[in-house]
């Protein structure tokens, strides 16, 4: 008999005898399932958050805030400065002039559905060019706010996670009343966690005079941020710094980046713990069958086939566990809506995203667990001399 057909025979025997060792088999499956589920939960969270933050930031949008302010919330840009920035080199225009969007960013309170407590929501003051610049912006319900009125539109994320922002509702922030006239989507990114209203109205209501907080400018193809930086430095009236919008959101997402890192660390440590459990189970399981394995070897099966047979058993169990873990993670977490504090102390709403490549990562991990927890016990069982294996009782 070749090694392959011998191995197949051993594998068949091992797999058929699995029900007899049902608790041990289940423990092995459970160990793999948990590690995979935990890992995937964290990966799906990180992936979902990343997608939300990254798709918000565009590489061809230059983003200006006051030097050192770190976030839109802290920054100020005067009207004169906005005009100067519009004249910077490499900024694209459309029929209505340069594609420059000065914006305001204030924080208001909303009631979170999940906890019933107040949480921070960004209220963005925006002008027509700001809407034109955001290519993935679309209204899914209602209409746009009328400039100069206290109307606002809400992102789909806000609608999902907060109470009282349905179309037609009147909302109160302090003594200011607003009416929700539309719901918008920006393709699932972080802007969907915001409320948008006319910038001029917000300037008035929040005593901002004619100042703004940040400026976004669409770049012409091939324009470089460096020349804009140069331009900012040369003009003493400008105390702004420039970066791509994508870079800005990447920094803003760092807080959750830490959480994802924390998740990875925790799940790898936990994987070690579960691996110890799995190894234990396989050692016990193989020790239970030391005689069977010795018998096979005594009647002429090669060591290698007995080894492979045992190894494959462990991997099959781990694979089953991995699949169960992945399915559980998929059922529990995929598409799950979550919200947390992003940069600027405001809520970011995002969805867990369990993609195929993440699931594959989970399955690989299960196979690695199976391999390690099968290899050493199998090695031990097949390296003991047959006669010794027979002598040992139990």
């Amino acid at each position: 008999m070749s090694v392959i057909s011998q191995s197949l025979a051993v594998i068949k025997m091992n797999v058929l005898s699995l029900p007899r060792r049902v608790w041990m088999s289940l423990a092995m499956v459970l160990a793999a399932a948990v590690v995979v589920a935990v890992l995937l939960a964290f990966l799906a969270m990180a992936k979902g958050f990343e997608a939300t933050m990254q798709s918000a930031g565009s590489e061809d949008v230059a983003f200006f805030i006051r030097t050192g302010s770190a976030a839109e919330l802290n920054s100020t840009v005067t009207k004169d400065q906005v005009n100067l920035i519009s004249e910077a080199p490499g900024i694209a225009s459309n029929d209505d002039g340069p594609l420059v969007s000065p914006e305001l960013y204030v924080i208001v309170d909303g009631i979170k559905k999940s906890t019933g407590t107040e949480a921070n929501i960004p209220l963005r003051g925006i002008e027509p060019q700001g809407l034109a610049m955001r290519e993935n912006f679309s209204l899914t319900q209602g209409r746009l706010f009328t400039p100069g009125t206290d109307e606002l539109i809400v992102g789909e994320g806000i609608l999902r996670q907060f109470d009282g922002f349905e179309l037609g509702q009147e909302v109160r922030f302090g003594k200011n009343r607003w009416t929700v006239v539309g719901v918008f989507s920006t393709g699932g990114n972080v802007f969907e966690s915001e409320l948008w209203a006319d910038a001029r109205v917000i300037q008035t209501l929040y005593n901002r005079g004619s100042s703004y907080q940040s400026v976004r400018a669409k770049l012409e193809p091939g324009a470089s941020l460096q020349s804009i930086e140069q331009y900012l430095k040369q003009d003493p009236r400008l105390n702004q710094e420039v970066q791509s919008e994508a870079a800005y959101f990447a920094t803003q997402g760092e807080s959750l980046g830490y959480m994802a890192l924390f998740g990875r660390v925790i799940s790898s440590i936990m994987a070690l713990g579960a691996l110890a459990g799995a190894l234990n189970t396989m050692y016990t399981s193989v020790a239970d069958r030391a005689k069977e394995i010795a018998t096979l070897r005594a009647i002429g099966f090669s060591n290698l086939s007995a080894f492979i047979g045992t190894l494959v058993e462990a991997m099959v169990l781990a694979l089953i566990g991995g699949i169960i873990g992945a399915l559980a993670a998929f059922a529990l977490f995929d598409g799950m809506n979550a919200s947390t504090l992003g940069g600027s102390f405001t809520q970011v709403v995002f969805s867990f995203e369990l993609s195929t490549d993440l699931i594959l990562q989970g399955i690989y991990l299960a196979l690695i667990i199976g391999f390690i927890s099968g290899f050493f016990p199998a090695w031990r069982a097949t390296s003991v001399p047959v006669a010794v294996a027979f002598q040992s009782r139990g």
Binding site: A27, V106, I269, M270, G273, S339
Partner: protein, 385 residues
């Protein structure tokens, strides 16, 4: 206990298994300790808040300011004991990433409202005398190695100095501590008046107002009186207890926290299930030996106790090592992350909780094999030879 040697020998008979099982328990409690400490750190603001302290914010959001005149109006409301106010400075030291929690406060009243803060009277006096002076919390001073008399440049991510730039040169006039080590001292305070006079926009607004009531029972009444007083004015207020405010702020971290802790605790318990399974198998392997012990005259309760002792020993061995490691990890992290998570400590409450789980683990993993042993029929065991 004469049987202890027997228990010990049973426990250590398979070194590899002992190691693996202990390791799994070790990991479980390491994670438990670290994650619970983290959770505790997030919640510590809630735990440490004073009962009779209220905070008054702009109703729109706590990032919106209040007119300065409100401070005196609040002071005149019945039931109010002390009133102070603070402004968020958005400070950082040298690098924007190096955030320093800095507040511009009313210097006299701040320490009346925050009674738990302790500052040497002489240091306080020199701080009061120096407009550009700053009082630094002990922890913050330690992290940055600042001494009294140091001149430290603190920049603001929000405000500009009227002389240009965003940097204020402040002089450390004193270092304050707290009467409870759990209270955070990772921040600094400087003069409100000086701040308003030196920042480019000027103005007379405060970030928020903090007050104490004469009696915690008056909290609700006072909060209501304040909010009613400012209803329909240019800035409506939202007054809450410090505790409620801190709690709401924590909850902003949102279901992410809930999900993470949920997942971690699920895994913690699964590892324990795996360990339990191993323990059951380990004792099952010894059926014959238990039968022999019984035949020799060892009573069933005695064997029951031996097995429970063994499982508890195992649980405490791995568990104590794990919680010990968690303690070290938390100590290390708390130094590294002092800036973000001031109260990261593995305290006695977590330790007690962990000990409870260890005992539970020991009992639960031991009880099944112990009962099996109790019920074991010697006759059938004998027949096995």
């Amino acid at each position: 206990m004469k049987d202890f040697y027997l228990v010990y020998k049973n426990l250590t008979r398979k070194k590899l298994r002992l190691f693996l099982t202990c390791f799994a328990i070790f990991i479980a409690f390491l994670i438990f300790g670290a994650v619970t400490a983290l959770q505790g750190a997030l919640n510590s603001g809630v735990e440490m808040s004073a009962d009779n302290r209220l905070v008054v914010f702009n109703k729109i959001n706590f990032t919106q300011p209040l007119p300065y005149a409100y401070v005196n109006k609040v002071r005149s409301i019945d039931g109010v004991e002390h009133v102070t106010h603070a402004n968020w400075f958005g400070g950082y030291y040298q690098e924007p990433a190096n955030q320093i929690v800095t507040m511009a406060v009313a210097p006299e009243s701040y320490f009346e409202v925050y009674e738990e803060l302790v500052v040497d009277p002489q240091q306080k006096a020199s701080w009061l005398a120096n407009q550009a002076g700053v009082l630094v919390g002990e922890r913050l001073a330690k992290v940055n190695n600042w001494q009294i008399g140091d001149r430290i440049p603190i920049s603001s991510s929000i405000f500009s100095h009227k002389d240009g730039g965003q940097t204020w040169d402040l002089v450390v006039e004193g270092i304050f501590t707290a009467n409870d080590p759990q209270i955070d001292t990772g921040y600094m305070v400087f003069h409100y008046k000086y701040f308003m006079e030196t920042q480019s926009w000027g103005g007379d607004y405060v970030g928020w107002i903090v007050l104490t009531t004469e009696d915690p029972a008056l909290n609700e009444q006072v909060a209501k009186a304040i909010d009613e007083n400012f209803a329909n004015s240019q800035a409506e207020t939202d007054t809450d207890t410090e505790k409620a405010f801190n709690k709401a702020f924590i909850e902003q971290i949102g279901n992410i926290g809930l999900i993470i802790f949920g997942v971690v605790f699920m895994a913690f318990f699964t590892i324990l299930v795996l360990v339990g399974n191993t323990m059951v198998l380990a004792v099952r392997e010894r059926t014959n030996e238990i039968a022999v012990l019984k035949t020799l005259g060892f009573s069933s309760p005695r064997i029951f106790r031996m097995i429970l002792t063994e499982s508890c020993l195992l649980s405490f061995l791995g568990g104590l090592l794990g919680i010990g490691a968690a303690f070290l990890v938390v100590r290390f992290l708390s130094e590294m992350m002092a800036r973000f998570l001031p109260n990261l400590v593995l305290g006695s409450d977590i330790l007690l909780q962990a000990l409870g789980y260890m005992l539970l683990l020991g009992l639960i993993t031991g009880i099944v094999p112990a009962v099996n042993a109790l019920r074991l029929n010697i006759i059938s065991a004998f027949a096995r030879g």
